[in-house]
């Protein structure tokens, strides 16, 4: 297959090379522009607190002497490690529920022949725009006995209709011929889903893992209203409370000993690093699914 690609490149003239060059330059510029905020946050988190406070502005290099104090403060916080664990539990448990339910629903929505498909699709779409609001949701979860349980963070958001519609469109793009072939082989709907649809939509499934995964990782609001035991708090809730604390140093006659107040800016950056590094590693890991040619040979075989 690679040799085929090489041939097509050679068929394109010098015009394409120029384009490829400009393309590359532009992308490099894009990388620099988007890398800067990340770079800034990282070097800020390692900088010397005094220097950071005294000289606020655009930074290209960390302010020496380097200091790990912000990280020590953040990581030694009693709740940070437990919240990491909680978030991982929610992440994996949540993904399992999300992916299974969403696939089932998306598959159903591709079945043009079903007479219930259209009504159900309308009902589902309706929920994307109309909901009871915060208080009814809360009372509902409470009445289901989910208070102070991690399930309250997984079940109410089990299906994102938006994601399901995206998944549906990728299922629908699977050629009819393959589905027909499976049906002729006597496959049940479940087998069609699992043996035809899922393997052929690897890239889109990876995107679903990313979307749902990031949503679970970043979520804090639901935890703030449903969880009452601080040791069950997920990561983002703990970090958010710490962040607000730092900003609230204005209220009351609060007077942190100089150190802690200086640190508040740095802690903010260390918090961002601590909370986003793990999830940032997810995408590169998923990129291997973004390959073409998974379908090659399916028809021939």
């Amino acid at each position: 297959m690679n040799s085929l690609r090489k041939n097509s490149i050679q068929m394109d003239g010098p015009g394409y090379r120029v384009f490829a060059g400009i393309n590359t330059l532009f992308l490099i510029a894009a990388i620099l522009a988007t890398a800067y905020p990340v770079y800034f946050v990282i070097i800020a988190s390692f900088s010397d607190p005094r220097a950071m406070n005294a000289n606020y502005g655009l930074m290209l290099l960390p302010k020496l002497p380097l200091s790990l104090r912000a990280y020590r403060i953040v990581l030694s916080h009693p709740l940070v490690l437990t919240s990491y664990r909680n978030t991982l539990v929610i992440l994996f448990g949540g993904l399992a529920v999300n992916l299974s339910l969403t696939s089932l629903g998306a598959y159903f929505l591709t079945l043009r022949g079903s007479m219930w498909r259209r009504p159900i699709a309308m009902l589902i779409l309706f929920t994307m725009y109309f909901s009871g609001g915060l208080v009814p949701m809360y009372l509902n979860v409470r009445s289901l006995g989910l208070m102070d349980s991690l399930w309250a963070l997984i079940l109410p958001g089990a299906i994102s209709t938006y994601n399901m519609l995206v998944m549906r469109s990728s299922f629908a793009a699977v050629p009819d011929s393959l589905v027909e072939a499976a049906k002729l082989d006597g496959a049940s709907h479940f087998r069609i889903l699992s043996t035809v649809m899922l393997p052929l939509t690897g890239a889109m499934m990876a995107v679903m893992v990313l979307y749902y995964g990031v949503a679970h990782w970043n979520a804090w609001f639901d935890a703030s209203i449903y969880i009452q035991t601080t040791t069950k708090y997920p990561l983002q809730l703990v970090l958010r409370q710490l962040l607000i604390l730092g900003q609230n140093a204005d209220f009351e006659a609060s007077t942190d000993m100089g150190d802690a107040a200086q640190m508040s800016e740095l802690i903010k950056y260390a918090l961002i690093v601590v909370s986003t590094v793990p999830i940032l590693l997810l995408y590169p890991f998923l990129q291997r699914f973004f390959v073409k040619g998974v379908m090659v040979g399916a028809l021939k075989g």
Partner: protein, 542 residues
């Protein structure tokens, strides 16, 4: 075909909604209004028994309490209040045990209280509930306490009767008291924790003394700019900038207590609607035109403002007391020094008519709910912090651990001030003391939180004013006007803020001030003032 699916859809919708309504019917809240607090009988028992309330005479009493998590204490190494030594000591010393539930923030707290059985005691920010304390009473979250306090909470009762300002602050429009309230002492300088500060080292360079009148202040700023070449003599971060007017520190010089609501002998006024407001705006406009005021006053964020002062690009900043410590220790060159300036006056020697001051009430309040079956115990528990021993626990913590007596004065131990684990003083005070509940803040305790002399001096300077004459003690709007007031106020507030920026920067000439007043009138300003006047009257018992 088309009609078929529409029909089926509607059928499904109907079915779902009916099912949903029926289903949720069972989850509906049923308020338990049957258990009313017992008053008469228990009151007499405590009256006849000798006033040794503690330890509580009934053994094994357990009350439930809900409050927001205090993230502060997590900086002292514990994850929940239940583990805090101060809180545990409170229970031991009163002989009453508490089952504490913690919510993450106010939204979570309000939702928690929305259904199911209520806990016995609710601890929260005084104003957290929409509709105020009267609404809380209506909804069963708070019971009237006035008649019972004398017997069940004698120390608290004694305290609030010591000065009318305490009692009047607590009293609601119906004359009842509903909560146990944390207080500053009336004369505590720590009520004024924000104000103008100036770089003393710059003042020294131009040989001027700290200004007290508005004209002196202008002279100082001009000297900074012209003699020392300072770019932005006066700066404040965007949220603090309008506070120069709303706190009253600047408006006092023009005879205006504040740019927001105030009262003169019971008549409600709104500062930004008064003629004197124009003088304050004219002054700031003059500063702006002369380049003495930060041109980016609406955008500047806190780190920028502070580093501007620390780098010497600015000479005066309007900020909170804690920033004195931040900035001085960040620069740490032995020269940098900040001095707090009292609110400005017109003439030398006057005392400013107003200045930044917190109400005597600290933000935390405690209520006893309708579902509490042991009101005397709850009252006794909450009353404890107002006794002498309780007050020590509240402010200083546990004798021997967090404080000891040095020369007869309670002083924090090294565990607190130089903690080996690196915990700072503030969260430690909350861990060993019980600052987040309702008690009276001790002056001696507060003084120990401020290591720099400049801070103490700033507090003193910022509290030299007579703002209490004009402050509105109880801001609650009467229930029937709440929605109307909210609509009016949101729009009027937006307009006032925008016009303030435009007047000061000159985008809107000050000659149009009357047009601005007229627009406010059109927006319903008079009705807003009327509503607030009615609410003020009710609060004062008229």
């Amino acid at each position: 075909m088309k009609r078929q699916w529409v029909f089926l859809t509607l059928l499904l919708v109907l079915a779902l909604l009916i099912a949903g309504c029926a289903g949720s019917g069972t989850t509906q809240v049923t308020t338990t209004g049957t258990t009313k607090a017992t008053t008469g009988t228990t009151a007499t028992t405590t009256a006849t028994a000798a006033p040794a309330l503690y330890p509580w005479h009934e053994p094994g009493v357990v009350l439930t309490l809900v409050r927001n998590t205090d993230v502060d204490i997590t900086r002292a190494g514990i994850t929940t209040y239940a583990d805090a030594p101060g809180f545990k000591a409170w229970q031991e010393q009163t002989g009453i045990s508490i089952n504490i539930t913690e919510t993450a923030d106010d939204t979570a707290l309000k939702l928690y209280l929305a259904s199911g059985d209520l806990p016995d005691i609710i601890v929260a920010t005084r104003t957290f509930y929409t509709g105020g304390q009267l609404k809380m009473a209506e909804d069963g979250l708070a019971i009237p306490l006035t008649d019972q306090l004398a017997d069940l909470a004698p120390d608290f009762w004694q305290f609030i009767n010591a000065d009318s300002i305490y009692y009047d602050s607590l009293k609601q429009a119906d004359g009842e008291i509903y909560c146990f309230q944390g207080f500053f002492l009336k004369d505590s300088p720590y009520r004024s924790w924000r104000g103008m500060m100036i770089r003393q080292d710059f003042l020294d360079k131009v040989s001027l003394s700290p200004p007290t009148t508005i004209d002196d202040f202008t002279a100082v700023l001009r000297a900074f700019k012209n003699t020392l070449g300072i770019e932005i003599p006066l700066i404040a971060f965007s949220s603090n900038f309008p506070r120069m007017l709303s706190d009253g520190n600047l408006t006092a010089a023009f005879g205006l207590p504040t740019s927001i609501g105030y009262q003169v002998d019971g008549t409600y006024h709104f500062g930004a609607y008064e003629p004197a407001y124009k003088d304050a705006l004219t002054y700031l406009n003059m500063l702006y035109n002369e380049g003495l005021l930060d041109k980016n006053f609406a955008v500047t964020d806190e780190p920028t403002a502070q580093s501007s002062v620390m780098e010497g690009k600015s000479g005066a900043i309007y900020a909170a007391a804690s920033r004195i410590l931040n900035m001085t220790s960040a620069v740490n060159d032995g020269v940098f020094k900040l001095t707090g300036l009292p609110p400005f006056t017109k003439n030398k020697g006057d005392v400013a008519i107003s200045g930044m001051t917190d109400p005597v009430m600290v933000s935390t309040a405690s209520w006893i709910s309708e579902d509490c079956k042991n009101v005397p115990a709850a009252c006794a528990f909450l009353n404890y912090l107002y006794t002498d021993e309780g007050n020590m626990l509240y402010n200083f913590g546990i004798e021997g651990e967090s404080y000891t007596y040095v020369n007869g004065k309670p002083t924090f131990t090294e565990l607190m001030t130089k903690n080996p684990d690196g915990y700072s003083l503030d969260p430690m005070i909350r861990k060993y003391g019980i600052l987040n509940f309702s008690g009276v803040q001790d002056l001696a305790m507060s003084a120990q939180r401020f290591p720099l002399q400049e801070q103490i001096h700033a507090y003193a300077a910022w509290s030299s004013h007579t703002a209490d004459k004009y402050t509105i003690i109880n801001n609650a709007i009467l229930a029937q006007y709440i929605n109307e007031e909210a609509t009016l106020w949101t729009d009027i507030d937006t307009y006032i803020n925008e016009m303030r920026a435009k007047f000061i920067s000159g985008q809107e000439p000050l000659s149009n001030f009357d047009a601005y007043l007229t627009t406010l009138k059109t927006m319903g300003m008079d009705r807003l003032i009327e509503i607030r006047q009615l609410s003020l009257d009710a609060a004062r018992g008229k």
